[in-house]
Amino acid sequence: IFFVHRASPSARGLCIPTRAVCDAETIFALSSGHGRCGVAVVRVSGPASSMVLRNMAGLTQALPPPRTALLRRITDPKSKELLDRGLVLWFKGPHSFTGEDSAEFHIHGGPAVITAVLQALGSLEGVRPAEAGEFTRRAFHAGKLGLTEVEGLGDLIHAETEAQRRQALRQMDGELGRLYQDWSYRLKRCLAHVEAFIDFSEDELIEDGVLNQVDSSVRQLETEIERHLKDERRGERLRTGVQVVIAGATNAGKSSLLNTHRVPPSRGTTRRPLVEREGVRRARQRVEQADLTLVVVDSTQLPPDPQLVAAFLQQHLSTVLPSPEAGMTAASDKVLLVLNKSDLVPEEQRERTEGELRERPGLPPACFLSCSTSTGLEDFLTVLQSRVKTLCGDPLSGAPSLTQARHRAHLQQSVQALNQYHQYRDQDLALAAEGVRLALTHLGRITGRVGAEEILDIIFRDFCIGK
């Protein structure tokens, strides 16, 4: 009983293209369960599915016959790097689950492989990670689902979104979450300020400078997100291992630390000791390239007055680490301080020093330990493990790779949308604002939806609107 739908061709407004003109986006998702499993199924649906198969399964000429499994090498479409060897299937629409052209990749279930395949999919033009329930939604709209199917899928999706939600919550607590939230907040303000300028500047005192501020905020955000996209190597780390460098003065205990053999040979972690007496320049270069640096200090060399220790360590780090311009500072999460030979320091002094260092922003976490007596080693390993986990994502909990690929795609689309802002800034502010809105929508898929009311709240908080 609704007025709106299915316009007759004659009633169609000039702007509404027919379906043929507007291709639906192509989506993908890990369809098998999360966690470790023997075989993982990645499903692709949408008009670009055949392109995806061609690009990733090396099927340059003909597609395989529909609904027939084919063993193929699965490669990265850009780098042509081999990702896995697995089964691919091709479903020609409408004979597929969603009614659209679809493809399936049956690959090995390891997190590194899944990550790699999902990231490769996300890098293809016009292909994006599916939203929760999107396959079902498409199937439903194509008239593919019966009642029982919808019911069963509801529970499945519930399970899936619950897992995603828990995962998102976990991530949102972390540093990455704070980063995304911060971007989202700043983007919201940008949008609110553009919208204020559009909706109110004719009647209200909204300074012309507002848009210039937005210009520079948008540029700043673009730079940060792009840098983040470049920096973020977690997926790669999972595949290639984490580079850990142990640095420190002669006799601080670097080799002892390495030789304790208690540093866990955890999956994919390669150990690369920093050879002593390497030139300072080369040493720094190594540190710069490392994913994690353990700076080993001889505790007996610390100033006996605990209050002076922080400054001492600060100074020490600046000699060991590359200059801050290289993007590495003492506060970076890529550094751990190891205060070795703790057994040679009086216990009271150690405790007071520990207390002093606990409250220090700007200094990486410091662990007292003794390589000779193994005191403090357990605590150090816990800290180290959590660092490595942060660097790689935790392969055992949920599906970090899935979330990662999703994030990556949304962030990339955000940056693209922000380009539209600059492109139209002087020509058509409505279209420029659309760019910011779109960027926020993509970021919102990571951090949560942003509604019109929220934007209005910012407008009314930041401006005196009083017509």
């Binding site: 609704f2 407004g13 379906r19 507007c22 329930g133 009642l147 999706i157 919208e195 559009i198 279209l431």
Partner: protein
């Protein structure tokens, strides 16, 4: 006989109901009764009558039909879009604006045609006259002066949802009821309204008018059990023009060439050179001082009823944003009026302090007040209790529109009035109700926001509320709405329909003609001179591609290809706009499609969410139970709703056969 009991003011009514015969005065049965003669009521009555329903408009004072109670202006950013859409559906306010405007301007001219805001200062007298004579000449419409005391309700039709069915109304001093199939309430601020000025409070919805509708409030709250909330608004003092030193204010000229609101008009009644200017001035620290000194004498500002954040009184402005200059617009009230309207100076302090405050502004240092400003507090019915057709969910045949739904503004009221009138008429004529999609119109956005989310402060339209702003433009409202308004809704007259169809066909042809001229970018540069095209030399571009470029106008293309393009000169502006926005709208069309298909899945209004035998979390159940979304689309927009919850709902709706999908 009844006529006497109903207190007909004969001299007025005779002129009003001249389209009817005398015996019709005694008519006691109508298809539709509209209560209230403001922007919502007049549009509702006219729309119902256009649909073919015998319609009665009841108002407390016939003379105030079409009165502009507050600001003498129409349109603006977001609001102008609403006016264009109401006009596209053959409503009154666009044409009334063209007849009454004395100062036309397109706001946001430099910001892109999607957000242009057509606006006009109005001559109050001309506006009222236009609306009254329109109603007079509308067939099947009768106007009656009176106060409604009671809504008559009876048992519901068991085949439809709802606990009651409206059967008509009873007037304050009429013992005989007047019966109808539907009733539209557009009572504005008169529902338990009270007026505030300084420390005095009096019952009423507008200064100088009769009291509030106490009986109606009772019926709505007690009999029908509707939840109501309380909002406030206000109006500034009116200033004697002669007492203002306009040389101390900044003159704001209108557009040289007025742009009409209505798609039917090529020009406005007011000639370009007859237009009146506005004036801009600012508040001073003295204004803030007077406000601070008078807070204790100001009941209204101390009350906590919710006022709009975007149209606050000068008191709340300076209290919220102290130490700033605030803009004050001095607007003409009409060609012959000796008053000025100080936009931005709505206030509720005692009159002597209002005068002191005004005189703190240099241009107003000798200002005289004709009527002081005052505040109003009034009840509104929480609009989540309505369906997208603006019908009360629990009461068959009862429709609400305008401030009673928690909105503010003439344009918002007119838009709802029109849509409520359409559906009241359809219900009376036994046609199914209709909804407007938020993907197709600002009216759809407005109604969807109201019934889907409710209001916490007076709701005003902004362009930022519309997701598909680049498609919902003022220039294409006729294409979006007029053909359907005729073919499917029935509220558009044949004349307007024909015009819209010819425009649509003309544009279509012109677009095809543009696409038919294709050249390489090198050749285009040769033909059009020095334009910057980003494409490389060999790319072939057609005329429509080219028109997207900032420096390219339709006129340039037409002079390059006069034989196939020059006949479309009349559409040059619309073609340019279409060319720029088309690619973006195409990108959005998938999202539009999705929203529309979800909007088309309606959820039964009497669903028992708390005990629904499907797997939903308690949290989601409570949200659904509180808001009771009308469609699956509205449910997806609820905060806290999960994708899994949506699928479960979908499943339930499918299974129980409640789905209505076109």
């Amino acid at each position: 006989m009844l006529a006497q009991k109903l207190h007909l003011l004969r001299h007025n009514v005779l002129s009003f109901v001249s389209s009817r015969t005398g015996s019709d005065f005694t008519r006691r049965q109508y298809d539709v009764i509209v209560v209230g003669g403001g922007h919502a009521g007049t549009e509702a009555a006219a729309a119902a009558a256009r649909l073919g329903a015998e319609t009665l408009l009841i108002t407390q004072k016939i003379m105030t039909i079409g009165a502009l109670s507050c600001n003498p202006s129409l349109g603006g950013v977001g609001k102008g879009q609403l006016v264009r859409e109401v006009d596209a559906l053959d409503g009154l306010c666009g044409r009334a604006g063209d007849a009454a405007g004395v100062h036309f301007s397109i706001l946001n001219r430099s910001k892109g045609p999607a957000v242009w805001g057509p606006r006009a200062q109005l001559d109050r007298e001309r506006y009222r006259q236009f609306i009254q004579s329109e109603l007079l000449s509308t067939p099947r419409l009768t106007v009656l002066e009176g106060s409604v005391d009671e809504l008559l309700v009876s048992q519901p039709n068991p085949e439809e949802p709802g606990h009651h069915r409206v059967t008509g109304i009873r007037l304050v001093d009429g013992s005989h009821p007047i019966l109808s199939s539907s009733v539209v309430l557009t009572t504005g601020t008169f529902l338990s309204g009270s007026l505030f000025m300084g420390q005095t409070t009096s019952p009423g919805g507008r200064m100088g008018d009769a009291q509030s509708c106490a009986g109606l409030s009772y019926t709505l709250k007690e009999t029908l059990g509707l939840r109501v909330g309380r909002l406030r608004t206000g109006t500034p003092p009116r200033i004697v023009k002669e007492s203002v030193d306009l040389s101390l204010a900044q003159l704001q000229a209108p557009d040289k060439q007025p742009t009409p609101f209505s798609f039917l008009n090529t020009h406005t009644r007011c000639k370009p050179e007859e237009q009146l200017p506005c004036y801009l001035t600012h508040t001073t620290p003295g204004v803030e001082r007077v406000v601070r000194e008078s807070v204790h004498l100001n009941c209204h500002i101390q009350q906590d009823a919710k006022g709009p954040r975007y149209c606050p009184s000068i008191e709340s402005r300076v209290l919220r944003f102290p130490g700033r200059r605030h803009q004050v617009w001095l607007e003409p009230e009409g060609l012959t009026s000796d008053l000025l309207y100080p936009q931005g100076l709505s206030m509720t302090m005692p009159p002597e302090l209002q005068l002191r405050l005004l005189r703190e502004i240099p241009a107003l240092h000798r200002a005289e007040i004709r009527t002081p400003g005052y505040g109003v507090q009034y009840d509104f019915v929480c609009p989540t209790q309505l369906t997208p057709s603006l019908q009360v969910k629990s009461t068959q045949g009862l429709f609400l529109a305008g401030q009673i739904n928690g909105t503010t503004g003439y344009e918002e009221a007119a838009a709802q009035g029109l849509w409520a009138g359409v559906n009241a008429g359809r219900t009376a004529l036994s046609l199914p109700p209709m909804a407007l999609s938020r993907t197709q119109s600002y009216i759809g956005v407005l109604i969807d926001d109201l019934v889907g989310r409710g209001v916490t402060e007076p709701y005003r339209m902004f362009t930022s509320r519309a997701e598909f702003r680049t498609y919902l433009r003022p220039d294409n409202a006729d294409l979006r709405l007029t053909p359907r308004g005729f073919e499917e809704v029935g509220c558009v007259t044949l004349r307007r329909y024909k015009k819209a169809v010819s425009v649509r066909d003309g544009l279509q042809e012109a677009l095809m003609a543009l696409q038919s001229v294709a050249l390489s970018s090198t050749r285009w540069r040769e033909k059009l001179g020095n334009i910057s095209l980003s494409e490389n030399k060999s790319t072939t571009l057609n005329g429509l591609d080219l028109l997207q470029y900032k420096d390219v106008s339709f006129e340039m293309l037409a002079s390059a290809f006069p034989e196939c393009l020059s006949q479309y000169f009349e559409y040059s502006q619309r073609l340019k706009i279409e060319a720029v926005y088309r690619p973006h709208c195409e990108k959005q069309s998938r999202e539009m499609e999705r929203i529309r298909s979800e909007e088309s899945l309606s959820l039964p209004s009497d669903m028992d969410y708390l005990s629904l035998p499907v797997s939903l979390s308690q949290e989601v159940r409570e949200i659904l139970d509180r808001v009771r979304p009308n469609t699956l689309g509205a449910a997806t927009r609820l905060p806290g709703m999960t994708p899994a919850g949506i699928i479960h709902l979908l499943n339930y709706v499918l299974r129980t056969g409640f789905m209505h999908m076109l």
